[in-house]
Symmetry: C2
Subunit: 354 residues, 2 copies
């Protein structure tokens, strides 16, 4: 059922139209790079009318200036394969429920992005790396927020170290083809390993700053608030948590008894997946799944499969939990937070065998 | 956000590929007839390779025989506008959960079907209506079931009265165009008012029978089993329950405070919707929604809207409940049954206003 390379009769699932928020049909996606028509779409605003055709660099730099698309295509390029996952992926699984787009498991995709490292722009403009505290990135989409009266552009910041990472790129190609408008053309920031609020579409501006950025998409949204009614203990959303999805069987599926193949994907923010375990008895005992490392990078997902031998008729809770090379493992209970970010509890489905 | 006539950037949501089961993006569907590309698809088996190009009539009839497509197009036609709803629609909302396809709210659509009343075939063949107990209908799709070893065609039966209802038709057109293969071409049975397991695609055979039919899609599936581990008190799934959907706001949506429009659709099996009430305080108080009767038939859905005046910031549970002309009202708690059919509890979402 899985691993179909072509997107025939598979579609995005629409959560909202304005702005357009749509999920990838993740149970049916294989190891390959996700077709652009099936890559999830997450927008804060309606699509921008005329995103800039180039990048402005300013702030703590010797030579502020503008890089046109022609300039950018002439710069040394880099290709990065990475998972992008919305920080709100699996939000609908939180208990108590968290407000916001009720993403299921499909606000995650992966693919191959080609572009120019952000640091190439910073170095070309002569940034003052020692004085810099953050690099602010500004996108071309803007609009109203439910909690504010003004119009805000979508803007965020990166710490200096992540901005200077050679894998943080400004991309103009996806899967070997020009990036599509809905996925950020002409230019999209790709920040591998981080939740994808950082990988902003329609990139327009890079500002090297001596201060921490306090725009609402940095200081209000994409912050973990662990308590229901306060901002105590808040901390920012950055790296993706270790996570997995059972792609088959489907939740609540009824199947014939006998040997079953349980399969899925697993990924983590900045580390290779080392182990995926599967339980068919609700978490009492665990067996190790077989991993198919395709590229072996820390940024891509790993497909896994587990053979459940001669399963007898009955109702079962099937679980999967991944562990990455940094020893991070999916917890039994997700870390609840007000805005519902970073859900990564042990993956769980139920199946009935007859 | 709602009522878009064109299906641009809206798609079906795939639950399974083989067989193909896909939901309509119901929050975005208006009063119009659902575009064929957005009409939900529910299959028990993979698509049939060569469904019969006509209808065989046999059993308790004077003149058993075959009606070709040309014969059928020459018979007097009838057009019926009706909701079709899968008996498992909203199954995923049951608590405790019920096994089977985990349909959300989108296993329902409506449209306009043109064809020939089933009774025209019965009368043309000279059926023995007095001796008949049921009319068996057999479709062209077949396959294995998880609980059986043999191959079964999809087959069911109708009581004589429903079979003889002039609105029960064998359709060859949908929304003024030839029926598409995936929705049952060349011929689909349409049984208005009943859950859509009755409205079988790829219709091939009508058998007038003096016995109650006991095929597995009649005697095992599409039966309400009210108890977890027994077949006690079982009774068949027939007419659609009174039901409603809140299309906007979306569940868990965050909006600006102020006046809100709550809108949706409501329908019932064999009666016009008379009233839809909305509660914005979790069911303590109710206000009446405005109904837009388009066609006024008992088989179509009714669009409704409710103005929630000057709503203040806060978290709210918003509910809707419909009542039909037979006095049937959505219950606070759905009638739980093993196979998860007929969910129609009061519709409920949560919204947060800022």
């Amino acid at each position: 059922m899985c691993s179909k390379a072509t997107p025939e009769e598979l579609y995005l699932k629409t959560l909202s139209q304005e702005p357009e928020n749509q999920e990838t049909p993740i149970p049916f996606i294989g190891m390959e790079h996700v077709h652009p028509s099936l890559f999830y779409r997450r927008n804060h605003f309606t699509y921008p009318e005329a995103p800039a055709e180039g990048i402005t660099v300013d702030g703590l730099v010797e030579s502020p200036g503008f890089f046109s698309l022609a300039d950018i295509h002439a710069l040394p390029s880099r290709t990065v394969e990475t998972v992008l996952e919305c920080a709100g992926n699996k939000r609908s699984l939180f208990e108590p429920k968290a407000f916001g787009e009720p993403w299921g498991k499909g606000a995650v995709s992966q693919g191959k992005w080609k572009g120019v490292p952000l640091k190439v722009f910073l170095e070309a403009a002569g940034w003052n790396k020692e004085a810099a505290v953050e690099v602010i990135t500004v996108a071309g989409d803007k609009g109203e927020r439910p909690d504010k009266k003004d119009i805000y552009a979508y803007a965020r910041s990166l710490p200096v170290e992540k901005a200077a990472d050679p894998d943080t790129i400004i991309a103009y190609e996806y899967n070997g083809r020009p990036l599509s408008f809905k996925h950020g053309a002409p230019l999209r920031l790709i920040v591998p390993g981080w939740y994808a609020m950082a990988s902003m579409k329609w990139m327009e501006r890079i500002t090297v700053s001596k201060d921490a950025f306090d725009g609402p998409f940095q200081s209000i949204d994409y912050v973990y608030y662990p308590h229901k009614n306060s901002r105590k203990d808040a901390f920012p959303v950055t790296t993706m948590n270790v996570n997995s999805i059972i792609q088959s069987p489907a939740d609540m599926e009824i199947k014939k008894e006998g040997t079953q193949v349980i399969e899925g994907i697993a990924w983590s923010g900045e580390a290779v997946i080392e182990q995926v375990e599967v339980s068919t008895d609700g978490g009492q005992t665990w067996g190790e799944a077989r991993l198919e490392h395709q590229s072996g990078t820390a940024y891509t997902w790993t497909k896994w499969a587990f053979e459940w031998q001669e399963a007898e008729a009955g109702e079962y809770t099937v679980m999967a939990r991944a562990c990455d090379a940094q020893g991070r493992q999916q917890p039994m209970q997700a870390f609840w937070n007000q805005k519902g970010y970073g859900y990564n509890a042990v993956e769980e489905i139920q199946v009935k065998l007859k």
